[in-house]
Assembly symmetry: C2
Homo-oligomer: 230 residues x 2
Amino acid sequence: EIAAALHPARPLDGARVLLTAGPTREPLDPVRYLGNRSSGRMGYALAEALTALGARVTLVSGPTALTPPPLEQVVQVETALQMHAEVIARAAACELFVATAAVADYRPVAPAETKIKKEHAALEIRLERNPDILAEVAAHRPAPFTVGFAAETERVEHYARGKLVDKGLDMIAANRVGGPRGGFEREENALTVLWSDGQRELPMMAKPRLARALAELIAERYLEHHAPSS
Amino acid sequence: EIAAALHPARPLDGARVLLTAGPTREPLDPVRYLGNRSSGRMGYALAEALTALGARVTLVSGPTALTPPPLEQVVQVETALQMHAEVIARAAACELFVATAAVADYRPVAPAETKIKKEHAALEIRLERNPDILAEVAAHRPAPFTVGFAAETERVEHYARGKLVDKGLDMIAANRVGGPRGGFEREENALTVLWSDGQRELPMMAKPRLARALAELIAERYLEHHAPSS
């Protein structure tokens, strides 16, 4: 009975989850943009897996080629600034915030209003920092249970542990990208999941299965976090 | 009989067509890239429509979310330099070259080998020109019958007529992008098709139908071009 209470079939029953997914696009002009290789697949699969555990998921998604699963709400955005606005407007009303989106760190300072002509042999684009959505939500008081993602090409665990501490996250899921077994644009992936006093390896598997394993781990840590301390 | 000979059901029977489609992606680092909003839809539809007119179509495609129709050959590329190499290798063996791809005019000078960290409040990206694939093919002797595309945000016909002349094309299909009725990322489109001594308007319609109308116009101009002058 105790085991059943600790591991119910719907451990996140009714919990409101705000989840970001996909890349963002930062316009240079009406046709060109700065993008990244996130397909959104892991985020969409995780939104579905969290819903299966009973959560009410609101998805804020950058541009992807995917059809969203049936969720509480789906909000489509394009830029980091748009994603920031939609997330901040909803952050106070969620118990969990799961940031799978690959938000552009930088945006062009002044997007051109008409298509840039190719008159010059060289061109310089000036970029400025976008807001850090994840750090901002984690710094909110009261903060939701925050889960971040780290996609790194090198020293994956080192950078991920740094991000967990610096941004004050509750959990971070890290993966290697850019290599032959990297995470973006692929059907399968592996994750190292870290929290303040522990970590777990989720080995290489298909993204939907990996998403279910991660959703269960998120639920486990979230319930632990909210359990009255003994 | 003359009409039937001038307008056979398969006017391009056996003609070898080399067709580019989609955007290109120019890497900044292993996860970030410079991209554009071409979906590839118009190019893929045109490849299919030209095949229906009897042509043997080789498609060189940048990254899209589309499944290619059954064609003679499909070559997937990512960058403008890759598209350039694949096209130049095949240009001498085609009778028609149709360039629908939105090839990036510029690429980052030196893509980073590992993910750029967001240490700085601002960043500058230096870009250099990519080769002009279309102009290069049109300048080849003997040149195939070359059809270009122009996607413009303003003065559409002016820029398209300039491109036709400057690059020595046989035809150019121009459309307005970036506006509410613009061509990228939409299911329908309109084209203004120009050649040295004429032009035709193809009004707003679904892209597959527009592609069939354009394919017929290409066949008409191509056969006219190859007909013995009277």
